[in-house]
Amino acid sequence: MNLPSNLSKSMLLAASIFWSVIIADEFDPDMIPYIFLSLIPIFMVSALVITLTICSVFWLREKDNTSKIKVFYTYFPYYAIVSFGFCFYFMASSNFDVFVVAFFSSAFITTSQSWVWFAKEKPHEKT
Protein backbone atom coordinates (compact mmCIF):
# COMPACT_ATOMS: atom_id res chain seq x y z
CA MET A 1 0.00 0.00 0.00
CA ASN A 2 1.33 3.39 -0.94
CA LEU A 3 0.61 5.08 2.36
CA PRO A 4 2.81 8.21 2.02
CA SER A 5 1.25 9.14 -1.32
CA ASN A 6 -2.26 8.53 0.01
CA LEU A 7 -1.61 10.59 3.15
CA SER A 8 -0.16 13.51 1.18
CA LYS A 9 -3.11 13.58 -1.22
CA SER A 10 -5.52 13.25 1.70
CA MET A 11 -3.91 16.13 3.55
CA LEU A 12 -4.22 18.42 0.51
CA LEU A 13 -7.81 17.35 -0.14
CA ALA A 14 -8.83 17.80 3.51
CA ALA A 15 -7.13 21.22 3.71
CA SER A 16 -8.78 22.45 0.52
CA ILE A 17 -12.27 21.35 1.60
CA PHE A 18 -11.82 22.67 5.13
CA TRP A 19 -10.58 26.10 4.01
CA SER A 20 -13.12 26.38 1.18
CA VAL A 21 -15.93 26.10 3.72
CA ILE A 22 -14.26 28.52 6.15
CA ILE A 23 -13.45 31.08 3.43
CA ALA A 24 -16.94 30.81 1.96
CA ASP A 25 -18.28 32.04 5.29
CA GLU A 26 -15.71 34.78 5.93
CA PHE A 27 -12.42 35.68 4.30
CA ASP A 28 -9.71 37.70 5.98
CA PRO A 29 -6.25 38.08 4.35
CA ASP A 30 -4.73 37.50 7.79
CA MET A 31 -5.92 33.90 7.49
CA ILE A 32 -3.40 33.04 4.76
CA PRO A 33 -0.48 32.12 7.07
CA TYR A 34 -2.85 29.97 9.11
CA ILE A 35 -3.87 28.09 5.96
CA PHE A 36 -0.30 26.92 5.54
CA LEU A 37 0.21 26.29 9.25
CA SER A 38 -2.98 24.25 9.40
CA LEU A 39 -1.46 21.68 7.03
CA ILE A 40 0.47 20.23 10.00
CA PRO A 41 -2.53 19.42 12.25
CA ILE A 42 -4.58 18.41 9.20
CA PHE A 43 -1.85 15.96 8.17
CA MET A 44 -1.66 14.57 11.71
CA VAL A 45 -5.40 14.09 12.01
CA SER A 46 -5.78 12.56 8.53
CA ALA A 47 -2.79 10.26 9.08
CA LEU A 48 -4.19 9.06 12.38
CA VAL A 49 -7.72 8.50 11.10
CA ILE A 50 -6.69 6.89 7.80
CA THR A 51 -4.11 4.60 9.38
CA LEU A 52 -6.35 3.48 12.21
CA THR A 53 -9.67 3.14 10.41
CA ILE A 54 -8.86 2.40 6.75
CA CYS A 55 -5.37 0.93 6.52
CA SER A 56 -6.10 -1.48 9.36
CA VAL A 57 -8.94 -3.01 7.30
CA PHE A 58 -6.74 -3.42 4.22
CA TRP A 59 -3.86 -4.84 6.30
CA LEU A 60 -6.13 -7.35 8.04
CA ARG A 61 -7.53 -8.63 4.75
CA GLU A 62 -4.19 -8.53 2.98
CA LYS A 63 -3.22 -11.62 4.97
CA ASP A 64 -6.02 -13.62 3.26
CA ASN A 65 -4.85 -12.40 -0.16
CA THR A 66 -8.14 -10.58 -0.65
CA SER A 67 -7.91 -8.06 -3.48
CA LYS A 68 -8.11 -4.37 -2.62
CA ILE A 69 -11.16 -3.90 -4.83
CA LYS A 70 -12.97 -6.67 -2.96
CA VAL A 71 -12.01 -5.17 0.41
CA PHE A 72 -13.38 -1.84 -0.86
CA TYR A 73 -16.70 -3.31 -2.01
CA THR A 74 -17.13 -5.33 1.17
CA TYR A 75 -16.26 -2.78 3.84
CA PHE A 76 -16.49 0.70 2.33
CA PRO A 77 -20.34 0.87 2.23
CA TYR A 78 -20.63 0.27 5.97
CA TYR A 79 -17.67 2.55 6.70
CA ALA A 80 -19.24 5.33 4.61
CA ILE A 81 -22.66 4.97 6.26
CA VAL A 82 -21.24 4.90 9.82
CA SER A 83 -18.79 7.76 9.22
CA PHE A 84 -21.50 9.86 7.54
CA GLY A 85 -23.84 9.24 10.47
CA PHE A 86 -21.07 10.17 12.91
CA CYS A 87 -20.11 13.36 11.00
CA PHE A 88 -23.73 14.43 10.47
CA TYR A 89 -24.50 13.89 14.15
CA PHE A 90 -21.70 16.24 15.22
CA MET A 91 -22.63 18.83 12.58
CA ALA A 92 -26.28 18.79 13.64
CA SER A 93 -25.32 18.88 17.36
CA SER A 94 -23.30 22.04 16.75
CA ASN A 95 -26.31 23.58 14.97
CA PHE A 96 -24.23 23.55 11.76
CA ASP A 97 -21.49 25.78 13.11
CA VAL A 98 -19.14 26.67 10.20
CA PHE A 99 -15.98 25.31 11.83
CA VAL A 100 -17.64 22.00 12.74
CA VAL A 101 -19.21 21.67 9.27
CA ALA A 102 -15.81 22.40 7.66
CA PHE A 103 -14.03 19.85 9.86
CA PHE A 104 -16.51 16.97 9.51
CA SER A 105 -17.35 17.48 5.82
CA SER A 106 -13.64 17.44 4.98
CA ALA A 107 -13.17 14.39 7.20
CA PHE A 108 -15.98 12.46 5.47
CA ILE A 109 -14.96 13.31 1.89
CA THR A 110 -11.26 12.78 2.55
CA THR A 111 -11.65 9.38 4.21
CA SER A 112 -14.03 8.22 1.45
CA GLN A 113 -11.64 9.37 -1.27
CA SER A 114 -8.77 7.74 0.61
CA TRP A 115 -10.62 4.39 0.33
CA VAL A 116 -10.89 4.95 -3.42
CA TRP A 117 -7.16 5.71 -3.72
CA PHE A 118 -6.25 2.58 -1.79
CA ALA A 119 -8.66 0.44 -3.84
CA LYS A 120 -7.31 1.80 -7.12
CA GLU A 121 -3.69 1.01 -6.26
CA LYS A 122 -2.08 -1.58 -8.47
CA PRO A 123 -1.37 -4.87 -6.66
CA HIS A 124 2.43 -4.46 -6.68
CA GLU A 125 2.39 -1.02 -4.98
CA LYS A 126 3.86 -1.38 -1.48
CA THR A 127 4.67 1.03 1.37
Binding site: A24, I81, A119
Partner: protein
Protein backbone atom coordinates in the same frame (compact mmCIF):
# COMPACT_ATOMS: atom_id res chain seq x y z
CA UNK B 1 -26.85 16.11 -21.61
CA UNK B 2 -27.03 14.06 -18.39
CA UNK B 3 -24.25 16.14 -16.82
CA UNK B 4 -26.09 19.33 -17.80
CA UNK B 5 -29.25 18.00 -16.09
CA UNK B 6 -27.28 17.37 -12.90
CA UNK B 7 -25.79 20.89 -13.05
CA UNK B 8 -29.25 22.43 -13.52
CA UNK B 9 -30.62 20.27 -10.68
CA UNK B 10 -27.80 21.34 -8.34
CA UNK B 11 -28.40 25.04 -9.09
CA UNK B 12 -32.09 24.47 -8.34
CA UNK B 13 -31.05 22.68 -5.15
CA UNK B 14 -29.17 25.81 -4.09
CA UNK B 15 -32.16 28.00 -4.98
CA UNK B 16 -34.56 25.79 -3.09
CA UNK B 17 -32.72 25.03 0.12
CA UNK B 18 -29.96 27.59 0.76
CA UNK B 19 -30.89 29.43 3.98
CA UNK B 20 -34.50 28.26 3.69
CA UNK B 21 -36.90 26.31 5.87
CA UNK B 22 -38.74 23.25 4.62
CA UNK B 23 -41.98 23.79 2.69
CA UNK B 24 -42.80 23.79 -1.02
CA UNK B 25 -39.07 23.27 -1.73
CA UNK B 26 -39.17 19.63 -0.59
CA UNK B 27 -42.02 18.83 -2.99
CA UNK B 28 -40.15 20.52 -5.87
CA UNK B 29 -36.97 18.68 -4.85
CA UNK B 30 -38.93 15.38 -4.98
CA UNK B 31 -40.07 16.19 -8.52
CA UNK B 32 -36.54 17.20 -9.60
CA UNK B 33 -35.14 13.97 -8.12
CA UNK B 34 -37.68 11.96 -10.07
CA UNK B 35 -36.86 13.81 -13.31
CA UNK B 36 -33.11 13.23 -12.81
CA UNK B 37 -33.69 9.52 -12.17
CA UNK B 38 -36.01 9.16 -15.18
CA UNK B 39 -33.55 10.94 -17.49
CA UNK B 40 -30.69 8.73 -16.30
CA UNK B 41 -32.54 5.42 -16.59
CA UNK B 42 -36.08 5.64 -17.94
CA UNK B 43 -36.28 1.85 -18.46
CA UNK B 44 -36.20 1.31 -14.71
CA UNK B 45 -39.49 3.17 -14.37
CA UNK B 46 -41.27 0.44 -16.30
CA UNK B 47 -40.73 -1.88 -13.36
CA UNK B 48 -43.66 -2.10 -10.95
CA UNK B 49 -41.65 -1.65 -7.73
CA UNK B 50 -39.83 1.42 -9.04
CA UNK B 51 -43.07 2.97 -10.22
CA UNK B 52 -44.80 2.37 -6.86
CA UNK B 53 -41.81 3.81 -4.96
CA UNK B 54 -41.83 6.88 -7.22
CA UNK B 55 -45.56 7.45 -6.63
CA UNK B 56 -45.12 6.99 -2.86
CA UNK B 57 -42.18 9.42 -2.88
CA UNK B 58 -44.15 12.11 -4.69
CA UNK B 59 -47.12 11.51 -2.36
CA UNK B 60 -44.89 12.08 0.68
CA UNK B 61 -43.69 15.31 -0.96
CA UNK B 62 -47.31 16.40 -1.34
CA UNK B 63 -47.97 15.43 2.31
CA UNK B 64 -45.05 17.65 3.39
CA UNK B 65 -46.56 20.54 1.41
CA UNK B 66 -50.09 20.02 2.77
CA UNK B 67 -49.29 19.00 6.31
CA UNK B 68 -45.82 20.26 7.18
CA UNK B 69 -44.61 18.28 10.19
CA UNK B 70 -41.43 16.55 11.34
CA UNK B 71 -43.04 13.16 10.76
CA UNK B 72 -43.98 14.03 7.17
CA UNK B 73 -40.39 15.19 6.51
CA UNK B 74 -39.05 11.92 7.97
CA UNK B 75 -41.54 9.94 5.81
CA UNK B 76 -40.33 11.86 2.73
CA UNK B 77 -36.68 11.09 3.54
CA UNK B 78 -37.43 7.38 4.03
CA UNK B 79 -39.40 7.34 0.76
CA UNK B 80 -36.42 9.04 -0.95
CA UNK B 81 -34.00 6.35 0.25
CA UNK B 82 -36.50 3.66 -0.76
CA UNK B 83 -36.80 5.06 -4.28
CA UNK B 84 -33.02 5.32 -4.71
CA UNK B 85 -32.60 1.80 -3.31
CA UNK B 86 -35.30 0.35 -5.58
CA UNK B 87 -33.58 2.08 -8.49
CA UNK B 88 -30.33 0.31 -7.71
CA UNK B 89 -31.97 -3.14 -7.41
CA UNK B 90 -35.71 -3.44 -7.63
CA UNK B 91 -36.54 -6.87 -6.20
CA UNK B 92 -34.83 -6.64 -2.83
CA UNK B 93 -36.38 -6.28 0.64
CA UNK B 94 -37.29 -2.80 1.77
CA UNK B 95 -34.51 -2.68 4.40
CA UNK B 96 -31.95 -3.54 1.71
CA UNK B 97 -33.48 -0.76 -0.40
CA UNK B 98 -32.87 1.62 2.49
CA UNK B 99 -29.28 0.38 2.85
CA UNK B 100 -28.64 0.81 -0.89
CA UNK B 101 -30.48 4.13 -0.91
CA UNK B 102 -28.49 5.60 1.97
CA UNK B 103 -25.22 4.27 0.56
CA UNK B 104 -25.93 5.59 -2.96
CA UNK B 105 -26.96 9.00 -1.60
CA UNK B 106 -23.87 9.54 0.52
CA UNK B 107 -21.14 7.69 -1.35
CA UNK B 108 -22.37 6.61 -4.80
CA UNK B 109 -19.80 8.71 -6.64
CA UNK B 110 -16.88 7.11 -4.73
CA UNK B 111 -18.20 3.61 -5.44
CA UNK B 112 -18.63 4.31 -9.16
CA UNK B 113 -15.15 5.79 -9.31
CA UNK B 114 -13.73 2.39 -8.38
CA UNK B 115 -16.23 0.65 -10.70
CA UNK B 116 -14.95 2.56 -13.73
CA UNK B 117 -11.35 1.97 -12.77
CA UNK B 118 -11.97 -1.72 -12.36
CA UNK B 119 -13.82 -2.12 -15.66
CA UNK B 120 -11.14 -0.79 -18.00
CA UNK B 121 -8.63 1.97 -17.80
CA UNK B 122 -9.48 3.04 -21.33
CA UNK B 123 -12.96 4.01 -20.17
CA UNK B 124 -11.39 6.76 -18.08
CA UNK B 125 -9.47 7.98 -21.11
CA UNK B 126 -12.48 7.78 -23.42
CA UNK B 127 -14.72 9.71 -21.06
CA UNK B 128 -12.23 12.47 -20.24
CA UNK B 129 -14.16 15.71 -20.08
CA UNK B 130 -13.48 18.19 -22.85
CA UNK B 131 -13.07 21.19 -20.54
CA UNK B 132 -12.36 23.60 -23.39
CA UNK B 133 -15.61 22.59 -25.09
CA UNK B 134 -17.56 23.13 -21.86
CA UNK B 135 -15.95 26.54 -21.31
CA UNK B 136 -16.95 27.49 -24.86
CA UNK B 137 -20.43 26.04 -24.46
CA UNK B 138 -21.18 27.95 -21.28
CA UNK B 139 -18.84 30.95 -21.48
CA UNK B 140 -19.61 32.29 -24.96
CA UNK B 141 -23.43 32.38 -24.63
CA UNK B 142 -23.19 33.90 -21.13
CA UNK B 143 -20.75 36.59 -22.32
CA UNK B 144 -22.96 37.50 -25.28
CA UNK B 145 -26.15 37.51 -23.19
CA UNK B 146 -24.54 39.90 -20.68
CA UNK B 147 -23.33 42.13 -23.54
CA UNK B 148 -26.77 42.28 -25.18
CA UNK B 149 -28.54 42.87 -21.87
CA UNK B 150 -26.25 45.87 -21.28
CA UNK B 151 -27.06 47.18 -24.76
CA UNK B 152 -30.84 46.66 -24.50
CA UNK B 153 -30.91 48.26 -21.03
CA UNK B 154 -30.00 51.61 -22.58
CA UNK B 155 -32.60 51.28 -25.32
CA UNK B 156 -35.75 50.56 -23.28
CA UNK B 157 -36.53 52.05 -19.81
CA UNK B 158 -39.08 49.29 -19.03
CA UNK B 159 -36.53 46.58 -19.84
CA UNK B 160 -33.99 48.50 -17.77
CA UNK B 161 -36.37 48.53 -14.77
CA UNK B 162 -37.04 44.80 -15.09
CA UNK B 163 -33.34 43.97 -15.28
CA UNK B 164 -32.63 46.14 -12.24
CA UNK B 165 -35.30 44.26 -10.31
CA UNK B 166 -33.48 40.92 -10.72
CA UNK B 167 -31.99 40.23 -7.33
CA UNK B 168 -28.85 38.12 -7.48
CA UNK B 169 -27.78 38.87 -3.90
CA UNK B 170 -28.29 35.26 -2.92
CA UNK B 171 -25.32 34.20 -5.07
CA UNK B 172 -22.23 34.11 -2.89
CA UNK B 173 -19.44 31.64 -2.17
CA UNK B 174 -21.54 29.84 0.45
CA UNK B 175 -24.39 29.49 -2.04
CA UNK B 176 -21.98 28.10 -4.63
CA UNK B 177 -20.67 25.56 -2.11
CA UNK B 178 -24.27 24.64 -1.35
CA UNK B 179 -24.81 24.03 -5.08
CA UNK B 180 -21.69 21.85 -5.08
CA UNK B 181 -23.34 19.84 -2.30
CA UNK B 182 -26.40 19.55 -4.56
CA UNK B 183 -24.14 18.40 -7.43
CA UNK B 184 -22.59 15.78 -5.14
CA UNK B 185 -26.07 14.59 -4.10
CA UNK B 186 -27.50 14.39 -7.63
CA UNK B 187 -24.34 12.75 -9.00
CA UNK B 188 -24.60 10.13 -6.28
CA UNK B 189 -28.24 9.30 -6.92
CA UNK B 190 -28.14 9.53 -10.71
CA UNK B 191 -26.69 6.02 -10.94
CA UNK B 192 -27.56 4.24 -7.69
CA UNK B 193 -25.17 1.53 -6.50
CA UNK B 194 -25.61 -1.65 -4.45
CA UNK B 195 -24.06 -2.81 -1.20
CA UNK B 196 -22.60 -6.24 -1.79
CA UNK B 197 -22.83 -9.00 -0.65
CA UNK B 198 -25.91 -7.85 1.32
CA UNK B 199 -27.97 -7.30 -1.86
CA UNK B 200 -27.19 -10.66 -3.50
CA UNK B 201 -27.68 -12.43 -0.18
CA UNK B 202 -31.12 -10.87 0.15
CA UNK B 203 -32.05 -11.75 -3.45
CA UNK B 204 -31.11 -15.37 -2.77
CA UNK B 205 -33.07 -15.62 0.48
CA UNK B 206 -36.55 -17.05 0.11
CA UNK B 207 -39.63 -16.36 2.24
CA UNK B 208 -40.49 -20.05 2.48
CA UNK B 209 -38.71 -22.32 4.96
CA UNK B 210 -37.05 -25.42 3.53
CA UNK B 211 -36.49 -28.70 5.36
CA UNK B 212 -32.80 -29.03 6.24
CA UNK B 213 -30.59 -32.00 5.36
CA UNK B 214 -29.84 -32.64 9.06
CA UNK B 215 -33.50 -33.37 9.89
CA UNK B 216 -33.42 -35.38 13.10
CA UNK B 217 -36.66 -36.81 14.54
CA UNK B 218 -35.06 -37.43 17.94
CA UNK B 219 -33.91 -33.82 18.44
CA UNK B 220 -37.23 -32.47 17.16
CA UNK B 221 -39.18 -34.73 19.51
CA UNK B 222 -37.28 -33.33 22.50
CA UNK B 223 -37.70 -29.76 21.23
CA UNK B 224 -41.45 -30.30 20.69
CA UNK B 225 -41.82 -31.65 24.24
CA UNK B 226 -40.02 -28.62 25.67
CA UNK B 227 -42.00 -26.21 23.50
CA UNK B 228 -45.36 -27.82 24.28
CA UNK B 229 -44.72 -27.75 28.04
CA UNK B 230 -43.42 -24.16 28.01
CA UNK B 231 -46.19 -22.72 25.83
CA UNK B 232 -48.91 -24.69 27.70
CA UNK B 233 -47.70 -23.23 31.02
CA UNK B 234 -47.44 -19.73 29.50
CA UNK B 235 -51.01 -20.14 28.19
CA UNK B 236 -52.23 -21.01 31.69
CA UNK B 237 -50.38 -18.03 33.11
CA UNK B 238 -51.76 -15.59 30.55
CA UNK B 239 -55.33 -16.87 31.05
CA UNK B 240 -54.91 -16.33 34.79
CA UNK B 241 -53.50 -12.85 34.16
CA UNK B 242 -56.33 -11.87 31.78
CA UNK B 243 -59.01 -13.05 34.24
CA UNK B 244 -57.45 -11.10 37.13
CA UNK B 245 -57.01 -8.03 34.91
CA UNK B 246 -60.66 -8.08 33.81
CA UNK B 247 -61.75 -8.52 37.43
CA UNK B 248 -59.51 -5.60 38.45
CA UNK B 249 -60.97 -3.40 35.73
CA UNK B 250 -64.53 -4.31 36.73
CA UNK B 251 -64.11 -3.97 40.48
CA UNK B 252 -61.82 -0.94 40.80
CA UNK B 253 -62.51 2.71 40.12
CA UNK B 254 -60.02 3.78 37.48
CA UNK B 255 -61.33 7.28 37.08
CA UNK B 256 -58.66 8.83 39.28
CA UNK B 257 -55.71 10.22 37.36
CA UNK B 258 -53.12 8.53 39.57
CA UNK B 259 -54.66 5.04 39.22
CA UNK B 260 -54.97 5.34 35.46
CA UNK B 261 -51.53 6.87 35.08
CA UNK B 262 -50.03 4.06 37.13
CA UNK B 263 -51.89 1.44 35.05
CA UNK B 264 -50.92 2.98 31.76
CA UNK B 265 -47.32 4.05 32.35
CA UNK B 266 -45.93 1.24 34.48
CA UNK B 267 -48.19 -1.52 33.18
CA UNK B 268 -48.20 -1.06 29.42
CA UNK B 269 -44.45 -1.07 28.85
CA UNK B 270 -44.04 -4.28 30.85
CA UNK B 271 -46.93 -5.96 29.07
CA UNK B 272 -45.73 -5.00 25.62
CA UNK B 273 -42.24 -6.24 26.52
CA UNK B 274 -43.83 -9.56 27.56
CA UNK B 275 -45.57 -9.78 24.16
CA UNK B 276 -42.30 -9.14 22.34
CA UNK B 277 -40.63 -11.90 24.41
CA UNK B 278 -43.58 -14.15 23.49
CA UNK B 279 -42.92 -13.47 19.78
CA UNK B 280 -39.22 -14.27 20.29
CA UNK B 281 -40.07 -17.60 22.00
CA UNK B 282 -42.40 -18.57 19.14
CA UNK B 283 -39.78 -17.61 16.57
CA UNK B 284 -37.18 -19.70 18.39
CA UNK B 285 -39.28 -22.88 18.31
CA UNK B 286 -40.49 -22.39 14.75
CA UNK B 287 -37.13 -21.30 13.33
CA UNK B 288 -36.45 -24.46 11.30
CA UNK B 289 -37.22 -28.15 11.02
CA UNK B 290 -39.86 -28.17 13.77
CA UNK B 291 -42.23 -26.73 11.15
CA UNK B 292 -41.91 -29.99 9.17
CA UNK B 293 -42.16 -32.38 12.14
CA UNK B 294 -45.37 -34.38 11.77
CA UNK B 295 -46.16 -34.49 15.52
CA UNK B 296 -46.08 -30.74 16.02
CA UNK B 297 -49.88 -30.24 15.90
CA UNK B 298 -50.33 -29.76 19.68
CA UNK B 299 -47.45 -27.29 19.84
CA UNK B 300 -48.86 -25.39 16.86
CA UNK B 301 -52.35 -25.23 18.35
CA UNK B 302 -50.97 -24.05 21.69
CA UNK B 303 -48.97 -21.40 19.86
CA UNK B 304 -52.07 -20.17 17.99
CA UNK B 305 -53.93 -20.03 21.31
CA UNK B 306 -51.07 -18.12 22.93
CA UNK B 307 -51.00 -15.60 20.08
CA UNK B 308 -54.78 -15.11 20.35
CA UNK B 309 -54.51 -14.64 24.13
CA UNK B 310 -51.73 -12.11 23.59
CA UNK B 311 -54.07 -10.27 21.21
CA UNK B 312 -56.70 -10.24 24.00
CA UNK B 313 -54.00 -8.76 26.25
CA UNK B 314 -53.39 -6.05 23.66
CA UNK B 315 -57.11 -5.26 23.55
CA UNK B 316 -57.09 -4.85 27.36
CA UNK B 317 -54.05 -2.53 27.17
CA UNK B 318 -55.70 -0.51 24.39
CA UNK B 319 -58.84 -0.24 26.51
CA UNK B 320 -56.85 1.18 29.45
CA UNK B 321 -55.12 3.70 27.19
CA UNK B 322 -58.46 4.65 25.66
CA UNK B 323 -60.00 5.26 29.11
CA UNK B 324 -56.98 7.38 30.00
CA UNK B 325 -57.35 9.41 26.78
CA UNK B 326 -61.10 9.99 27.12
CA UNK B 327 -60.62 11.16 30.70
CA UNK B 328 -57.54 13.34 30.36
CA UNK B 329 -57.19 14.03 26.64
CA UNK B 330 -54.74 13.16 23.89
CA UNK B 331 -51.01 13.82 24.15
CA UNK B 332 -48.14 12.75 21.91
CA UNK B 333 -47.07 10.14 24.49
CA UNK B 334 -50.56 8.61 24.59
CA UNK B 335 -50.69 8.52 20.79
CA UNK B 336 -47.23 6.91 20.91
CA UNK B 337 -48.58 4.20 23.22
CA UNK B 338 -51.40 3.52 20.74
CA UNK B 339 -48.93 3.26 17.86
CA UNK B 340 -46.75 0.96 19.98
CA UNK B 341 -49.80 -1.23 20.73
CA UNK B 342 -50.78 -1.31 17.04
CA UNK B 343 -47.26 -2.28 15.94
CA UNK B 344 -47.20 -5.08 18.52
CA UNK B 345 -50.56 -6.31 17.22
CA UNK B 346 -49.16 -6.38 13.69
CA UNK B 347 -46.13 -8.27 14.98
CA UNK B 348 -48.38 -10.90 16.56
CA UNK B 349 -50.52 -11.31 13.45
CA UNK B 350 -47.50 -11.68 11.16
CA UNK B 351 -45.99 -14.20 13.59
CA UNK B 352 -49.26 -16.17 13.40
CA UNK B 353 -49.05 -16.09 9.59
CA UNK B 354 -45.41 -17.16 9.70
CA UNK B 355 -46.21 -20.24 11.82
CA UNK B 356 -49.33 -21.12 9.79
CA UNK B 357 -47.69 -20.81 6.36
CA UNK B 358 -44.21 -22.12 7.32
CA UNK B 359 -42.45 -18.87 6.43
CA UNK B 360 -38.87 -17.90 7.27
CA UNK B 361 -37.66 -15.31 9.74
CA UNK B 362 -36.68 -13.11 6.80
CA UNK B 363 -40.34 -13.08 5.71
CA UNK B 364 -41.29 -11.67 9.09
CA UNK B 365 -38.60 -9.01 8.84
CA UNK B 366 -39.64 -8.10 5.27
CA UNK B 367 -43.35 -7.85 5.99
CA UNK B 368 -42.94 -5.98 9.27
CA UNK B 369 -40.52 -3.39 7.85
CA UNK B 370 -42.85 -2.80 4.89
CA UNK B 371 -45.83 -2.37 7.22
CA UNK B 372 -43.85 -0.04 9.51
CA UNK B 373 -42.97 2.12 6.50
CA UNK B 374 -46.62 2.20 5.42
CA UNK B 375 -47.68 3.16 8.96
CA UNK B 376 -45.14 6.01 9.09
CA UNK B 377 -46.55 7.36 5.81
CA UNK B 378 -50.17 7.02 6.96
CA UNK B 379 -49.40 8.70 10.30
CA UNK B 380 -47.60 11.54 8.52
CA UNK B 381 -50.82 12.48 6.70
CA UNK B 382 -52.43 13.58 9.96
CA UNK B 383 -51.99 17.02 11.51
CA UNK B 384 -51.49 15.67 15.03
CA UNK B 385 -51.32 19.04 16.78
CA UNK B 386 -54.71 19.93 15.34
CA UNK B 387 -56.16 16.50 16.08
CA UNK B 388 -54.95 16.65 19.71
CA UNK B 389 -56.37 20.17 20.11
CA UNK B 390 -59.77 19.34 18.59
CA UNK B 391 -60.10 16.11 20.58
CA UNK B 392 -59.06 17.64 23.90
CA UNK B 393 -61.25 20.72 23.54
CA UNK B 394 -64.41 19.06 22.26
CA UNK B 395 -64.34 15.37 23.22
CA UNK B 396 -62.14 14.74 26.27
CA UNK B 397 -63.61 15.10 29.74
CA UNK B 398 -60.84 17.53 30.76
CA UNK B 399 -57.93 19.25 29.02
CA UNK B 400 -54.62 20.92 29.80
CA UNK B 401 -54.66 24.28 28.00
CA UNK B 402 -51.00 24.91 28.82
CA UNK B 403 -50.05 21.72 26.94
CA UNK B 404 -52.16 22.76 23.93
CA UNK B 405 -50.64 26.25 23.79
CA UNK B 406 -47.13 24.80 23.98
CA UNK B 407 -47.72 22.57 20.94
CA UNK B 408 -46.34 23.73 17.57
CA UNK B 409 -47.99 26.56 15.60
CA UNK B 410 -49.95 24.05 13.55
CA UNK B 411 -52.83 24.29 16.05
CA UNK B 412 -52.70 28.10 16.32
CA UNK B 413 -55.74 28.73 14.12
CA UNK B 414 -57.83 25.96 15.75
CA UNK B 415 -57.03 27.34 19.22
CA UNK B 416 -57.78 30.90 18.10
CA UNK B 417 -61.16 29.86 16.67
CA UNK B 418 -62.04 27.82 19.76
CA UNK B 419 -61.01 30.29 22.47
CA UNK B 420 -64.42 31.98 22.60
CA UNK B 421 -66.17 28.67 23.26
CA UNK B 422 -63.96 27.31 26.04
CA UNK B 423 -63.61 28.34 29.66
CA UNK B 424 -60.03 29.47 30.22
CA UNK B 425 -58.32 32.36 31.99
CA UNK B 426 -57.80 35.74 30.30
CA UNK B 427 -54.07 35.17 30.56
CA UNK B 428 -54.34 31.98 28.49
CA UNK B 429 -56.61 33.76 25.97
CA UNK B 430 -53.86 36.35 25.59
CA UNK B 431 -51.28 33.59 25.03
CA UNK B 432 -53.52 32.06 22.33
CA UNK B 433 -53.85 35.47 20.60
CA UNK B 434 -50.10 35.93 20.71
CA UNK B 435 -49.48 32.44 19.32
CA UNK B 436 -51.98 33.11 16.52
CA UNK B 437 -50.43 36.46 15.60
CA UNK B 438 -46.93 35.00 15.63
CA UNK B 439 -48.12 32.20 13.37
CA UNK B 440 -49.76 34.55 10.86
CA UNK B 441 -46.68 36.77 10.94
CA UNK B 442 -44.37 33.82 10.32
CA UNK B 443 -46.61 32.67 7.42
CA UNK B 444 -46.44 36.15 5.91
CA UNK B 445 -42.65 36.26 6.19
CA UNK B 446 -42.12 33.01 4.34
CA UNK B 447 -40.27 32.95 1.04
CA UNK B 448 -41.89 31.10 -1.86
CA UNK B 449 -39.65 28.08 -1.21
CA UNK B 450 -40.90 27.81 2.37
CA UNK B 451 -44.65 28.13 1.85
CA UNK B 452 -47.01 25.26 2.50
CA UNK B 453 -50.72 24.61 2.05
CA UNK B 454 -51.77 26.56 5.15
CA UNK B 455 -50.20 29.69 3.66
CA UNK B 456 -52.84 29.71 0.91
CA UNK B 457 -55.75 29.09 3.29
CA UNK B 458 -55.12 31.97 5.68
CA UNK B 459 -55.66 34.94 3.38
CA UNK B 460 -58.63 36.10 5.44
CA UNK B 461 -56.68 35.69 8.64
CA UNK B 462 -53.83 37.68 7.17
CA UNK B 463 -56.20 40.50 6.38
CA UNK B 464 -57.52 40.36 9.95
CA UNK B 465 -53.95 40.49 11.19
CA UNK B 466 -53.15 43.47 8.99
CA UNK B 467 -56.19 45.34 10.30
CA UNK B 468 -55.30 44.53 13.91
CA UNK B 469 -51.85 46.11 13.50
Amino acid sequence: MKRAIIIIASVLFGLLFYDKQIGLNLLIFSIITLIVLIIHDSKKFKERNVLISAIVYICTGVIVFINLSNLSIIANCIAFFTLIGVNSKSNTSIYINWLNGVYSTIAGIFHRNVDVNEAQQQITLKKDIDIFHWVKLLGIPIAFIILFVMLYKNGNPMFNDLINKINLDFINLEWILFCVLGYFLFSNISKPVCVEPATSLDLNTDNILVKSKNFSEETLKKETQLGTLLIALLNLLIVFYIVTDILYLLTNDLNSASALSNQVHSGINTLIASIIIAIIIILYFFRGDLNFYLKNTTLKNLTYLWIILNIVLIVLIANKNHTYITSFGLTYKRIGVNVYIFLTLIGLITTLLKVMNIKSLVYLLRVNTQLSFAIVIILSTINWDNTITNYNLYKAESFDIDYLIKLSDRNAITLYNAKANIIISEDNKGRIDQKYLNHIKSLNNKDWQEVHYEYFTVTEKTNAYESSK
